[in-house]
Symmetry: C3
Subunit: 415 residues, 3 copies
């Protein structure tokens, strides 16, 4: 995963443009993707697909022709969606177009202006402070024109058409944790699931933030989406953070809590807030999907957030592997979690004659497997899921799942 | 307010009579009142309006003619609703008609006998102990006759006919905290509201306890009452106490908790109990109104309660001002608290093109005003009020209210 | 009760057979019982009544003819439901039929094989270790043949046909706490109730565990059962343990919590689990009855459990008396707990003119009885029981009950 992050890092992604396409091309080497192109001007919910932005070069050069700010060095140096410009102007005039972080003078900020035509450069405060007065050539060789918004999907077909979505954003330029780590974890998670025969259909969505998710929601059968997870900031060295769906008690919320608590990883969980990543859209009140958000250090909560400090060294291979492991464990529970109905609910069914119960009575060391069967039978009234059984009984989810399989095979419970 | 308390203090109020009328006359100098007179014998719910009681003079005089207990000195000295008497009797016989507080020998108790014809005097234990044996002249120059029960209302009209009631009792004679402080706070609160154009219609009720509130309930369109507050014991130096309505989670209960907690005043809140003041009637199970009770030290919880110790010096101008301030803050929230419905609930609406969102992206210091808009949009599904939004988001109610106004003006939410 | 335990202890009970009948005969000396006999082969829910097992003698004898394991010494020595056998075999072959407790080498375990035809002996590890190699005569003089399953009932008729069941198991051989103490407490409780005129009909069920309860459930009008208690392990010296019904908030659960908390006995309460005693059957999801389980030390939680250590000395007369007292207190609350509806719910009814209220007003020491009436009136909206009133008000249940009786007699509330 770390290699994938490194390969994607230099590309200049935005909410549209060839940087997104190049990103999806590289991801496509790891996982087959269906790439969707949606034309500029398409109405998507309350929004309209904007013009496509592409950029070839951009710099600020001093009187000697030396590039003092250079897009070639980092895609962060240009204000996202900058309109083209090529002029010479004094530093005093240029300053209104320069963005810095005075509190973090070594770092270059990430800034955009998608919906107001502007141009600008981002640079460190130190670089700015070192610039002598005088005239500078500024050039942004960009185009803003009708084109497309690009997103991609990978679908792992399941036994049912009910879907679990995994969504990550693809619109941030050279930012590693906030963008690329989520892309990497999603990609490797999809590869693993593709090797299984899951119960649910799993749909992985790679789309630009906000307008991309809105475009996806506008064009898809959202009623199929039963559960989902937004992956972002998936690679920093902080502990895991799960932000619940707007519902607060959606099945994915229950599953993530169960897995995080039982895995004994340090972690925190939070209620839904309507800012952050694309859970904002999936959990808008009209959709109100059961979609949570998994990060390590959350959105805007680390000093490197939206700066040049969020580079490939900021993310760790171990952290990404850990995020991936939690997703794997959570989906193993989610995928197997059913609401069964006991077909013999009056009294206990006689398990012994079905070979499901020890013939020797009187022993107090009843086996976990038998306890699990009694729990599943007792709570299978259609309102309790296997996760409920695991939580009520204190038995491991897997033990409960095995018991449920045996009871289902004996015809004693039905989903 | 303290001046009003001092002016009202000497009057001999009861559940009927001229003392109540004189009280309302003085209040009427501060606030126009509609005074209602309900004839003796009128059926009001399970009760009947009693005969009217008036008293001109009352005393116990010793053999020398010296008044050892004198109604002219304090209206507390006579048992409320005493029937007329004029006799001479030995102290031994008189004792059965004398009420004292042996545990608080300096203080005169407050006692009544509304529904059993009796006569009696209240005096301090010390006074009683100093009385020599011998004959005493006892005289109570009272009348108990058909007449009226008197209560008053002041209505501040609102944009809607849904009402908030503020109720205080007017039946206690010379007791300052338990009666007059509530009257004073209600009166000044009404004056403030009258200068605004509130959303709700606010109805201030000045009525004798129990039978007065019952009379009001019997004669009014109770279904209009959406919220309410009983004010009593509003002037002592103790911290504020809010007693929830019988419902426990009525909007007034939520608002009072929010304001008390967020104002960081020392305070306590309690569940409903079916004794105390007229919340007993408003919260009887048939009505079950969303009416709470605000006091400082609650009913019967201070040693001066229902004694001559509850005099104008016992209440403080600062305490009454503080009670008034909390009412003002609470009604500011209550009056503005709406349940909005997002008119664009699928995904976030594009705030930028409506001028409601910063055009510059990437900054992590999103302004409170923008967060408030996202919160209001996200929770405006008809089930969450602005107070819910404030509590969930942790943003100040006022910030949430301003955001809601902007969104409503942009047509994005509707009440 | 301890005498009853001692008398019953030697009998060889099982899920069928003459040991059960002999047990019920002795109980019948204390309490008239209706004994039911259900033929082998009868379908009962998912089960079938098994063949009847009877045993006259059983032993392992050494070459000298000395009985080294002897059923006559303790009914525990034979594996319950052992098929007949009479052979001589070397110890090496016999070992597969011998059950011991290596961790508790002094104690004889209790083991059964109801549904697999086997034979075996239970003995202490010490006894086994002392056996020299060589041939042993093994004899089990038992019969397994069509017959009956035997259970018994005692019904205390109430004012209504709604029932409270008290269920105890009768299938364990020489085990005192786990079986006999519950039988003893149930029997003495039934005798006490029979001297009263209870509101509910109380049905005491003496039945073998699992298949006995299932048989009872299959043959009775379960919809009449409103509340119930399974009694077991009722005599050891540990503190009381109440296990809630599957519903978790059934009335019996509320009552038991109230009584245990207010009696200030050391105790613990637990959520339902689908193992233990016959609450497993009563609380199976199809029935889901409001039946809890009262024990002292619970099922399988003491080292003497299902061993020869659970003998009459293990149970204490005081502990059984304490269990009985808690049952008595709980049923006193349950039997009197009603949901009343205030017939005068608009405002408070005038209690004074009905003689239910002190005529002298102004006193702050309102009597508990009057407070209780106000509480009952206020909460009697059909959704609150008297127990709710007691819990909300903090008043003793009995005070609340007395107030409710007075209000009911005055026509102010109706059940």
């Amino acid at each position: 995963m770390h290699e994938l992050v490194r390969r994607l890092y230099p590309l200049c992604r935005s909410i549209t443009g060839d940087g997104v396409r190049a990103t999806l091309d590289i991801v496509g080497e790891y996982l087959p993707l269906q790439v969707r192109e949606v034309p500029t001007g398409t109405r998507v919910l309350d929004w309209t697909v904007p013009q496509e932005w592409n950029i070839r070069d951009a710099y600020v050069a001093d009187a000697s022709g030396r590039r003092v700010v250079d897009f070639a060095a980092s895609s962060l140096h240009v204000l996202g969606y900058s309109v083209p410009v090529h002029r010479t102007m004094p530093l005093s005039e240029l300053r209104a177009h320069l963005y810095t972080l005075p509190e973090q003078p070594d770092l270059v900020p990430y800034r955009t202006s998608y919906y107001q035509p502007q141009w600008g450069f981002c640079l460190s405060q130190n670089t700015l402070d070192a610039l002598p007065d005088g005239d500078y050539e500024v050039r942004i060789d960009s185009t803003l024109a009708d084109g497309h918004l690009t997103y991609a999907e990978h679908v792992v077909p399941g036994q049912v058409t009910d879907e679990v979505i995994v969504s990550c954003h693809t619109c941030h330029p050279s930012l590693a944790n906030d963008n690329l780590a989520g892309i990497a974890v999603a990609t490797f998670l999809a590869r693993e699931l593709a090797e299984q025969q899951p119960y649910y259909t799993y749909r992985f969505i790679y789309a630009p933030g906000t307008v991309g998710a809105i475009t996806w929601l506008a064009r898809n059968r959202v009623e199929r989406v039963k559960h989902g997870l937004v992956l972002a900031c998936a690679g920093d060295r902080g502990p895991l953070t799960y932000k619940r769906s707007r519902r607060g008690d959606a099945e994915i919320d229950r599953v993530m809590r169960y897995v995080l608590v039982n895995s004994e990883r340090p972690h925190s969980t939070h209620d839904f807030t309507p800012y952050g990543y694309d859970e904002r859209q999936y959990c808008s009140p009209g959709f109100n999907l059961g979609v949570g958000s998994l990060t390590r250090t959350p959105y805007a909560a680390y000093p490197e957030y939206h700066t040049s400090g969020d580079n490939p060294d900021f993310v760790s291979a171990d952290a990404m592997a850990d995020t991936l492991a939690v997703c794997r464990e959570a989906f193993a529970v989610l995928d197997r979690n059913r609401h069964y109905v006991n077909q013999s609910p009056y009294g206990e069914p006689q398990l012994g004659r079905r070979g499901l119960y020890d013939s020797l009575g009187g022993r107090s060391d009843a086996k976990e497997a038998q306890l699990a069967m009694l729990w599943v039978l007792n709570l299978s009234d259609g309102t309790h899921s296997l996760l409920d059984v695991a939580e009520r009984s204190g038995l491991p989810f897997d033990t409960v799942g095995v018991a449920a399989d045996a009871l289902r095979d004996a015809g004693l419970i039905k989903a």
